[in-house]
């Protein structure tokens, strides 16, 4: 488990050159970045290490990004997902937003915009966790406990 402090980001994209270069740039901006190259690897990864934010491509070998997104939300609903794709359709965008996607960006994206979105997504996640914790004191203890445990 990564004990370093910082926003944990998982990049999921089958374009190895793209994702490795982007990862270097994000690390230079003090984000804790891991990379995987398809949806199945992403799902295995988050069962071991839970990122705060996932930057997810749609068209990948095997599982389509939207299927991966659904699985992520069922495994860890609090993880924030940003779609970063070159070729998402309007239907994909609509579905991603319906599933609770934080944002839908097109490749190539401006690095400052992407970093800003990652940070916003992270703070929204923290806000949700805090809200859930506060809510727990008022009643729905089980739900908040579950969320807090995941957060730890």
């Amino acid at each position: 488990m990564d004990k370093k402090k910082g926003i944990k980001v998982l990049l999921v994209d089958d374009e190895v050159d793209f994702v490795d270069t982007l990862a270097q740039r994000l690390r230079m901006r003090e984000l804790l970045v891991d990379t995987v190259y398809d949806g199945e690897q992403a799902l295995s990864f988050i069962k071991k290490v839970e990122p705060d934010v996932i930057v997810l491509d749609l068209k990948m070998p095997g599982l389509h990004g939207i299927e991966v997104f659904r699985e992520i939300k069922s495994l860890s609903p609090q993880i924030q997902v940003i779609i970063l794709t070159g070729h998402g359709t309007e239907k994909d965008e609509e579905e991603a937003r319906r599933l609770g996607g934080f944002d839908f960006l097109r490749k190539p994206a401006d690095i400052d915009l992407l970093v800003a979105k990652i940070r916003e997504a992270y703070w929204e996640k923290i806000e949700r966790v805090m809200t859930a914790a506060a809510f727990a004191e008022g009643g729905d203890f089980d739900t908040a406990q579950r969320i807090m445990r995941k957060e730890e």
């Binding site: 050159d17 270069t21 068209k59 990948m60 389509h64 070159g86 070729h87």
Partner: protein, 232 residues
Amino acid sequence: MTMNYEEDEILRISHLKFIGKALSVFTHELNNHLAVLKESAGLLEDTLRFQQAGTGYDLDGSLNIIQSIENQIFKATRLCKNFNGFGHRMDNPLSAFSVNEALEELLALLIRPASQKKVGFEKDFQKDIPLAYNDPSRLQFLIFCLIEESLKSIENGSIILKTEYSEGLITIRISREGDFTETEKKDICSHNIAGRVAEQLGGSIYEETEGEGVNIMLPLSVTGEASNPELY
């Protein structure tokens, strides 16, 4: 061969879809190359800015990034050259062409859709095949139809393309290996367009053994005449 209006229209629409899909794959690939170039250029800029800020001078790191940019430009150029060749196949309905090269061009456009189903391509091309005098674009369309049909019913496998020349005939064989996802090993010859296009090429198409593969027999004119000139 005569075709009624409806069949002709289906064929025309299918051909347009083929070109549309080829364009879509090309733009997808090109956009990916541009995205990598943008990130690589950005990484170089980041590196230089960090160096200016006093984190040390990393000449090798910067040179590596420049090298990766050059590699990416090379890949993008190869993609454009391939697609340019593909486009020019349509310039003339009949020309002398290398069947292997026409197949290579097509495969470059099919690698991505196939990889999304975890299907790869294996090529077993006979090297000394003489030039065919026929319609290369129509042949690419035919092979595209058959491969697309194959991809509907397999995943986690491979599609094997083999070319052979013997006694004035070029044979292109498409076979499949992998996990069959639909009605077992679906007969890819059942594609209603493929048989028509094969006829237009003056060739024929048949299933080798049930579901195992498909052979396309393409007559080769060594005299420089069209294999089936009455069609044109």
